[in-house]
């Protein structure tokens, strides 16, 4: 385990040691139900109240605008289904992008079956939407615009502030899936005019199974999980106090340390990108070169397939992921890579390296040493590589 080089921080991150320490009292002695009136119940209530304040401060929101959920997927589902069912008398049109996470796309597919109409904005070869496309897509019936803050595969950062502004001008609710952006991009929901924002704790060294949804004050969306009066009666279920406490400290840490992290990871990222481009032929950097998450590196290597690449890296104790949806058990290439215009066979051969605060230059150097060898080995095995320059 010790020699593992973990380069899949976009999939999940290790829970920070000091965050776990903050959670421990609530995993042991302070087990009280936060809705209970006696002492250990009140102690949980106080911890949750403080956690909510902490989260609100990190996002530039009011505490009353923060709702805890079980993760990014629940937050996305709640935001979209809750808004659409509340506003369906006003219209049935939703605007999103072609490169959203499945938590958004599959939710919208479900709504399409119920009669909602969805416009999927295309992206350019770098994965950016066009603001003009967004403007042109708006109809009288548009009730929601949902655009991810940054893409999980190729790392492209979308023009969220501009998009939110347009939504506001037209009186349309604006949601953003910021699951990947938290801790990597500075976000202030009030200043940016965002109406709803989803986040997921395990993406920024917090606990798994914990997320939050910011809902602007005054915005009415329907409840998603009905039941008890937790979360001001808007999200039922006995509070996961350790999870809530953990999320709040992890968020505080990752927003407080953002400048340092961005500086460090951007340098590592650009070093790795440059070296890979220098040493491996027939590769393509996916995603925008500068408007990109500080921790994201995504390459397609022609003539080879992503999963084999990952397995070979794994054998060298390097944990990375494929740009493709292989992980989801599906054989289709990634919808994101297809959306930026890659042909199928190239979309199959992608590698995502996602850096976290804990990664070092030494680890990048190991990658830079192993990757060219592995790519070459797989190419020598590939029937597609035959006859290509440099092949045997």
């Amino acid at each position: 385990m010790n020699d593992l080089i973990y380069f899949d921080n976009a999939a999940t991150t290790p829970l920070a040691k000091d965050v776990l320490d903050k959670m421990m009292p609530y995993l042991t002695d302070n087990y009280g139900n936060a809705s209970s009136i006696y002492e250990i119940g009140r102690r949980s209530r106080a911890a949750i109240d403080e956690a909510r304040d902490r989260v609100a401060k990190c996002l530039g929101a009011d505490a009353s605008e923060i709702y805890f959920t079980s993760g990014g997927s629940e937050s996305d589902n709640w935001a979209i289904k809750g808004l659409c069912s509340a506003k369906k008398s006003k219209g049935n049109h939703i605007i999103t992008t072609a490169i959203e996470h499945h938590a958004i796309l599959h939710t919208l597919k479900a709504l399409e079956k119920e009669g909602f109409e969805v416009t999927y904005l295309p992206v350019d070869e770098d994965g950016l939407i066009s603001i003009d496309d967004l403007k042109n897509a708006i109809k009288d019936t548009t009730i929601l615009i949902t655009i991810m803050f940054a893409n999980n595969e190729i790392g492209t950062i979308e023009p969220i502030e501009e998009a939110a502004k347009i939504a506001k001008e037209k009186g349309i609710t604006f949601h953003t899936d910021a699951v990947q952006a938290i801790g990597a991009v500075k976000i202030n929901v009030h200043e940016m005019g965002i109406d709803m924002l989803s986040l997921s704790a395990h993406k920024f060294n917090g606990p798994k199974g914990m997320g939050a949804l910011y809902i602007r004050k005054g915005l009415r969306i329907n409840n998603f999980i009905n039941g008890g009066a937790q979360e001001s009666g808007r999200r039922a279920g006995t509070e996961n106090t350790p999870g809530i406490v953990g999320l709040s400290y992890a968020l505080e840490k990752s927003t407080a340390g953002i400048d340092e992290k961005v500086k460090k990871l951007t340098a590592l990222r650009d070093y790795a990108i440059e070296e890979i481009e220098k040493t491996i032929p027939y590769c393509r950097l996916n995603g925008h070169r500068t408007k990109r998450l500080c921790g994201n590196i995504n390459f397609s290597f022609r003539f080879i397939e992503g999963e084999s690449l990952l397995l070979m890296l794994d054998m060298k104790h390097i944990a990375a992921s494929s740009g493709s949806a292989c992980t989801s058990g599906s054989l289709d290439p990634s919808h994101v890579l297809l959306a930026i215009g890659l042909p199928h066979e190239i979309a199959h051969g992608s590698l995502r390296i996602s850096l976290g605060v804990q990664n070092t230059k030494e680890e990048i150097d190991v990658l830079l040493k192993e990757l060219p060898k592995i790519v070459d080995r797989l190419r020598q095995m590939s029937p597609l590589y035959e006859g290509v320059e440099g092949s045997n």
């Binding site: 003539f303 080879i304 397939e305 992503g306 999963e307 084999s308 397995l311 070979m312 054998m315 292989c326 992980t327 058990g329 599906s330 054989l331 290439p333 199928h344 066979e345 199959h348 020598q380 095995m381 590939s382 029937p383 597609l384 035959e386």
Partner: protein, 148 residues
């Protein structure tokens, strides 16, 4: 998704990679669109597969099934090789995850395609019937598998 130790072994140390020199049986199946291409070349003498090699563009399971399939047919008669099923390849690898079943089908098909090529080259009027019967229902099925 979990690969067996055998799959990982055949993936990391694939047997019979490359191309047989003086091959008289070459078959390629799959297409890059669905993510898998397997190419098998053989030297067949006196109805015996003297040598066999593969090249594969595909996932870990595709590499491992290619490797195992070539091991299983090497030194066998053509008729015995034609009896090789994807199930046998999977069993020899201690199983495959459900979404990877089609990779083993591909291996069976590639062997079949190579032998068909041998029949055609040798002017033998036989048709090899091999391939997917919609078995795994996860890979888009038959139509995607294009035989060369």
């Amino acid at each position: 998704m979990m690969y067996s130790e055998k799959v990982l072994d055949h993936f990391s140390n694939p047997r019979n990679v490359g191309e047989v020199e003086n091959a008289n049986a070459v078959g390629q199946v799959g297409n890059a669109k669905c993510g898998d291409i397997m190419k098998i070349s053989m030297r067949i003498e006196d109805n015996i597969i003297k040598d066999v090699k593969f090249k594969t563009f595909g996932c870990g399971a595709a590499v491992a099934t290619s490797s195992m399939a070539t091991e299983l047919v090497k030194g066998k008669s053509v008729d015995d090789a034609l009896k090789l099923t994807n199930k046998a390849v999977m069993e020899a690898l201690d199983g495959l995850p459900p979404v990877k079943v089609h990779c083993s089908v591909l291996a069976e098909e590639a062997i079949g395609a190579a032998i068909q090529n041998y029949y055609d080259n040798a002017g033998i009027d036989k048709k090899v019937k091999k391939g997917c019967d919609g078995c795994c229902s996860s890979c888009g099925g038959h139509d995607e598998h294009h035989h060369e």
